[in-house]
């Protein structure tokens, strides 16, 4: 039992130190993975990259701005912030307008604030929002409210293996709606259980597009509640793709229902015209479970940024036909921490990550390079233990070679 006690104590220390020490070291080397801002200029048809750099003065940054050819990747010119504003008139519309520098038209398109705003939207996706214990109870909004303004939902869908429409106010099943919805799900061929259901449940939007659903057969459905009745459509998709995640869009231009990503790593938008057609976003490599995505859609282009943690890639598509214009990648410079850490720690433990909302121990960053330090620590331990005439020296040394500094600290302590 006593040996078990010391083993328990040592293991607890190893577990805790493998979590605390890397965290303490990271505090000593603050990371500043600041992404550049990248826009696509309709004026010179190039990526315009603005990178903020520290000036040394607190709170003050300087901008380095340059262009990148979407095809060759070459940089020809650097710009001032004023020059950049003119190159990206849709993004810096307010600045240009206030200075009276907004052109009347560009590429034959009228450049009014109204036109710019109506054709502009943004979309954001973060892995955290998918990687969490999602509640499988879906509040359902009324898409055609009587008084036009959207109202908070009063019912929620529960899809455990059948359809249940729950009246939230009374905490009871709404039998009439349940019957109607169940019939609709059955008519459309929905196969339970639902794999995913996505919606933007908020009244702070112009209109409601309801839910996009993926059923057990990996088929796509669009569900809305209109005038208390279900409206459901099955969305056909090519046979060679398997929908993995769906995102509902409710943009001012009303052109799209949403975005679909597939297990094959492709990304599509569901267009409203031509009855739910899926259009691929070419050149976009996006896994919503691991990557962050931002889409900025403007009059002339879509700029889609995908960040996988190590690098960011921007893809520019033409707004007219979603054809690929080009891509630009930016990799973070390796920082001191990334260089030092593998030499000190054989592995690290963390309980949370920026990519999900789960808490559980994850052991990662295995590094064979730490073995050098581990051996040195084991030798020091050997000398110390010999002086103390300790028992069980070999197991302690082996543990130190494997677990390195995490084991060295508890093992060198004199516990008696």
């Amino acid at each position: 039992m006593k040996r078990f006690y010391y083993i328990t104590f040592t293991l607890l220390c190893i577990a805790v130190l493998s979590w605390v020490l890397p965290w303490l070291v990271s505090l000593c080397f603050p990371q500043s993975d600041r992404d550049p801002f990248v826009g696509f200029s309709p004026v010179n048809d190039k990526f315009i990259v603005s990178l903020a750099t520290e000036t040394g003065e607190p709170g003050k940054v300087e901008y380095k701005i340059w262009d990148v050819d979407p095809v060759t990747g070459e940089t020809t010119t650097t710009y001032t912030t004023e020059e950049r504003d003119s190159l990206l008139p849709e993004i810096y519309a307010n600045q240009l307008a206030s200075k009276g520098l907004m052109p009347d038209s560009l590429n034959g398109v009228e450049m009014t604030m109204h036109n710019i705003r109506r054709n502009r939207w943004m979309f954001n996706s973060q892995p955290r929002n998918l990687n969490r214990t999602v509640p499988h109870l879906y509040p359902l909004m009324e898409s055609m409210p009587k008084r036009f303004d959207l109202e908070n939902p009063t019912v929620a869908l529960y899809l455990p293996g059948e359809v249940q429409v729950i009246d939230m106010g009374t905490n009871s099943i709404d039998t009439l709606k349940t019957r109607r919805f169940a019939k609709m799900f059955a008519d459309r061929g929905f196969v339970f259980p639902a794999k995913e259901a996505s919606a933007n449940v908020t009244v702070r939007k112009a209109y409601d597009n309801g839910y996009l659903l993926i059923d057990a057969n990996n088929d796509l459905y669009h569900l809305k509640m209109q005038a208390n009745r279900p409206s459901m459509a099955r969305i056909d998709h090519p046979a060679d793709i398997t929908p993995a995640h769906v995102f509902v869009l409710e943009n001012a231009d009303r052109a799209l229902y949403g975005i679909v990503t597939t297990l094959e790593g492709r990304t599509f938008v569901i267009a409203r015209d031509d009855y739910y057609s899926l259009i691929e976003l070419p050149g976009v490599v996006f896994n919503p479970e691991t990557d962050r995505m931002t889409i900025i859609k403007n009059l002339f282009s879509w700029v889609i940024k995908v960040n996988d943690g190590d690098k960011s890639t921007w893809t520019a598509l033409s707004s007219d036909d979603l054809s690929l214009i080009g891509t630009y990648s930016y990799e973070y410079p390796a920082n001191t921490l990334d260089i030092i850490e593998p030499w000190i720690f054989p592995f690290t433990t963390s309980f949370t990550t920026g990519n999900d909302y789960h808490v559980y121990p994850r052991i990662a960053d295995f590094s064979w390079r730490a073995v050098f330090l581990n051996i040195v620590l084991a030798l020091i331990l050997a000398v110390v233990l010999k002086r103390r005439e300790s028992k069980c020296v070999w197991p302690k040394l082996i543990v130190t070679v494997i677990f390195g500094i995490f084991a060295f600290i508890p093992l060198i302590l004199k516990l008696k």
């Binding site: 039992m1 006593k2 078990f4 006690y5 010391y6 328990t8 104590f9 607890l12 220390c13 577990a15 805790v16 979590w19 605390v20 969490r132 214990t133 509640p135 499988h136 109870l137 879906y138 509040p139 908070n152 939902p153 009063t154 929620a156 529960y158 729950i166 939230m168 106010g169 905490n171 449940v201 908020t202 309980f351 949370t352 909302y357 789960h358 808490v359 559980y360 121990p361 302590l413 516990l415 008696k416």
Partner: protein, 224 residues
């Protein structure tokens, strides 16, 4: 004999037990009253939507209470054993030492269990009247790591109190605090600990080893 041992543990812990129970009920009542006032102002639907869309469990006020009760119970139970080396009396009782420690720890665990279950039940019964059982389950899953922190905090406290030397007490306290901290990450997210619940339960059982080890060390004379 074991009933006498349990009685002894009860005499030491009953005040903390009742204090913990009353505090737990008051906190539960506070959480319920808060929900009631939200319902009166914004309607019951707002509770559902807060939970579903904003991950608000509405019982955050409970968070650190079970841990506090666990630690307090551990201190109330084990500190009298250590003051004036009273543990010598206990270990001299004609009852197998390890069984005796197991019995002592079980008494504490059962008391924490009773407090936890009563508080959970009060909240669950109220929640069931206003929301879907699925959501109630989610609230319970959110609260579960807090209660487990109570058990784990108790186990660590017991081991630290039963340890005879201050040096080792501090060395035990450091990893204990760190491990307990991991149970309070991601506040404001519901059911975030689902993948770790089993690990915590196994850890609670495992760290009982520390109490037994502390006793063996005490019997070998490792005392200040």
């Amino acid at each position: 004999m074991y009933s006498a041992i349990i009685l002894k543990e009860w005499l030491k812990t009953r005040r903390v037990f009742f204090l913990g129970l009353i505090l737990s009920l008051l906190i539960a009542a506070y959480a319920i009253l808060t929900m009631n006032s939200v319902i009166k102002t914004f309607g019951v639907v707002s509770i559902w939507l807060n939970m579903l869309l904003k991950d608000a469990s509405m019982v955050d006020v409970v968070t650190y209470l079970p841990l506090a009760i666990g630690v307090a119970l551990g201190v109330a139970q084990m500190a009298p054993e250590m003051s004036h080396k009273r543990l010598k009396l206990t270990l001299h009782l004609p009852y197998p030492n390890m069984k005796l420690i197991a019995l002592m720890l079980s008494t504490g665990i059962i008391e924490i269990f009773v407090i936890s279950v009563i508080q959970m039940a009060v909240i669950a019964v109220y929640d069931l009247t206003i929301m879907h059982p699925y959501l109630v389950g989610r609230v319970m899953l959110t609260m579960l790591p807090w209660y487990l922190a109570g058990f784990l905090g108790y186990m660590f406290t017991a081991a630290i109190c039963l340890e005879g030397t201050w040096r080792m007490r501090i060395l035990l306290a450091l990893p204990s605090i760190a491990i307990l901290m991991t149970l309070f990450m991601q506040s404001g997210v519901m059911a975030a600990y689902n993948r770790m619940l089993l690990i915590i339960i196994l850890l609670i059982i495992w760290v009982a080893v520390l109490s037994f080890g502390s006793i063996i060390r005490f019997k070998e004379g490792l005392q200040d």
